[in-house]
Amino acid sequence: MQRKLIAFGAMLFVSAGFALAAVELDTDLMQNIDDTNKSLASNIATRDGKAAIADAKSMNDMFGTVETYFVQKGDAANAVELTKQSRELTLTIVNAVTANNYDAATDAATTLSRTCKKCHTFYKKE
């Protein structure tokens, strides 16, 4: 029984380590956010609601990863806050597009881009 517990504990440790390692901010993720953001702006401008909503939802997921990273990193309260704002903005975009209010969606998407830029001022590595 004790061996089984040790093995289970070791598995948990490895899994936790794997989970921690998974929340890394690599350039691919940030590039993906950047690309999706540009696609989102375009899809809103061309009023492609389905694609815009897909982009916004995808960005919401990616910002989730970014938020987890900064929470784990610590000493990055404003990054966590800015990421939360970004996630909320993606939801605002989804709601605005669903309501066929593309002007509101454009405004929210522009604010979202500025929020990204604000965060990069402090945290982007050259």
């Binding site: 953001n37 540009k38 401008a45 454009t106 522009t110 881009s113 830029k117 001022t121």
Partner: protein, 483 residues
């Protein structure tokens, strides 16, 4: 289906697709309408703005090399007190100081004196005595910020909004969205003084992914600003017209076969424009008939300011003649020896800025005065812009390094609160004090477009299936400075 009819079918389908693609040429990418038929024939036909415009033209004064606005407009008493000391760590928080000179000690020039001018009480240094007289015409943005710390990249961002080549410049977007106000002149002209073309080159007045017809037309400095404009003496006007007509016919055949070839359309347009420009352009840029008083007003009587003054006088004449966007890149006075032929004072700032300020001070003051006197300042926007500013700390003991974190831009003209200052830098003039008031190049572009009657969010172009706009994915109109 025969080969001919198959070919015919493909051609017609292609033309149909081409017409569809051309809807992307229209601001907002809207559906084809009666008004757009003319636009498809003439891409520079005048187009309606999104809402009534406050201004008709922009004179974009790019101060090449990045002047130290800390030594011109941004008076910082604390910097004077702290000069010679290391930069307190609190001021460096949040910025990456990867500029080539490292972080030196805070620096001020002993030669500089400061004074407030006008009812607005705007500060000017002793380097700009003439411009200071127009303090109440100016709207300062003292919270400008950008990305990058090398000239070419930040100049590109200043003009096109992006760090990589390929996007249209602001002037190109305006030409695309509004067309030409005067069919005999290009809507977008680039001027520069000095003996060489501006560094970083024509990518800064490129039309990028917009059709080539919207790019800026560069006029050289000197007595013959437009190369090969005059018809050769041995050729009559009738002969020239006949060969142009033949060329047009041949090019039109090519254009029918390749309806999406924007280079060809631009070439067709440019031949015709060149023909009409032979009459209109010499008059528009000829400053010889300007009065002696006007020439003196623009500083043409001073060797240091003469070449820049001539360029600004031409800019005024072009604006009078309906040119929508005049991009003026500062060069260097003729006959003044220096290694640095721009505002880029990494060392010997006093000497460099002494020359550069003297080169631009009287001409810009003259331009503002002249535009006002002629009733043109209400419909023209004069913009002082640079790729970035310069650091509060010194470099090489007598210069300043590049500063993208906080510097001054200003505008003067229609639709703005004159004698007004928006934003500020911190106590030593290094960073924007309130980040929520930071004005990036995108915001500047969005505001200028707004004054031209264009919503930057709705000024769009379909490029390879993606809707693009002048402000990329950013941009916020600075409503606080609008009258």
């Amino acid at each position: 289906m025969s080969i001919n009819s198959r070919r015919d079918f493909l051609l017609k389908s292609g033309l149909g697709l081409g017409a569809g693609a051309l809807t992307g040429l229209l601001p907002g990418g809207g559906l084809l309408s009666a008004a757009t038929a003319a636009e498809l024939i003439d891409p520079l036909a005048p187009k309606q703005p999104h809402f009534p415009a406050k201004i008709k033209s922009v004179i974009w004064l790019h101060q090449n090399g990045a002047p130290s606005t800390l030594d011109l407009y941004d008076y910082k008493p604390d910097l004077q007190k702290l000069a010679g000391q290391p930069v307190p760590a609190s001021f460096l928080k949040g910025i990456k100081t990867s500029t080539q000179g490292g972080v030196g000690k805070l620096y001020v020039s002993k030669e500089r004196t400061w004074k407030q001018y006008g009812e607005s009480g705007a500060w000017f240094s002793s380097l700009l005595p003439n411009m200071a007289q127009h303090a109440d015409k100016i709207t300062f943005i003292k919270s400008s910020t950008t990305i990058g710390a090398t000239h070419d990249i930040s100049i590109l961002k200043l003009n096109t909004g992006d760090l990589n080549p390929g996007r249209p410049s602001l002037g190109a977007w305006i030409s695309y969205a509004l067309g030409a106000a005067n069919p005999d002149l290009p809507p977008y002209v680039v001027l520069y003084n000095g003996d060489r073309e501006p560094q970083a080159g024509s990518v800064n007045w490129s039309s990028g992914f917009l059709p080539a017809v919207y790019q800026g037309t560069a006029f050289r400095p000197g007595d013959s600003p437009i190369l090969y404009l005059d018809r050769p003496e041995l050729r009559s006007a009738t002969q020239q017209r006949a060969s142009l007509d033949l060329l047009k016919q041949l090019n039109n055949l090519g254009a029918q076969r390749y309806p999406n070839d924007t280079e060809l359309r631009a070439r067709l347009r440019s031949y015709e424009l060149a023909d009409r420009m032979q009459v209109a352009a010499p008059a528009a840029v000829d400053i010889s008939k300007e009065s002696a008083a006007t020439k003196e007003l623009y500083g043409l009587n001073d060797k240091t300011s003469q070449s820049y003054g001539e360029v600004l006088l031409r800019a005024r004449r072009l604006v009078e003649n309906g040119v929508r966007f005049v991009q003026v890149v500062s060069g260097y006075p003729e006959g003044v020896e220096s290694e640095r032929q721009s505002w880029d004072a990494h060392s010997e700032l006093d000497q460099n800025h002494g020359v550069m300020a003297r080169m631009v001070d009287k001409p810009i003051a003259g331009l503002l005065h002249d535009l006002k006197e002629r009733g043109l300042l209400d419909t023209t926007l004069v913009v002082w812009a640079s790729e970035f500013g310069r650091t509060s700390w010194g470099e090489s003991g007598s210069g300043r390094d590049h500063n993208p974190w906080g510097y001054t831009t200003w505008m003067a003209g229609g639709g703005l609160k004159a004698g007004y200052t928006y934003g500020e830098t911190d106590e030593i003039g290094l960073q924007v004090a309130d980040k929520d008031k930071a004005v990036d190049t995108y915001d500047l572009h969005a505001t200028i477009l707004q004054l031209m009657g264009l919503d930057h969010l709705k000024t769009t172009f379909l490029n390879n299936g993606r809707s693009e706009r002048p402000t990329v994915v950013y941009g916020k109109v600075i409503k606080e400075i609008l009258a």
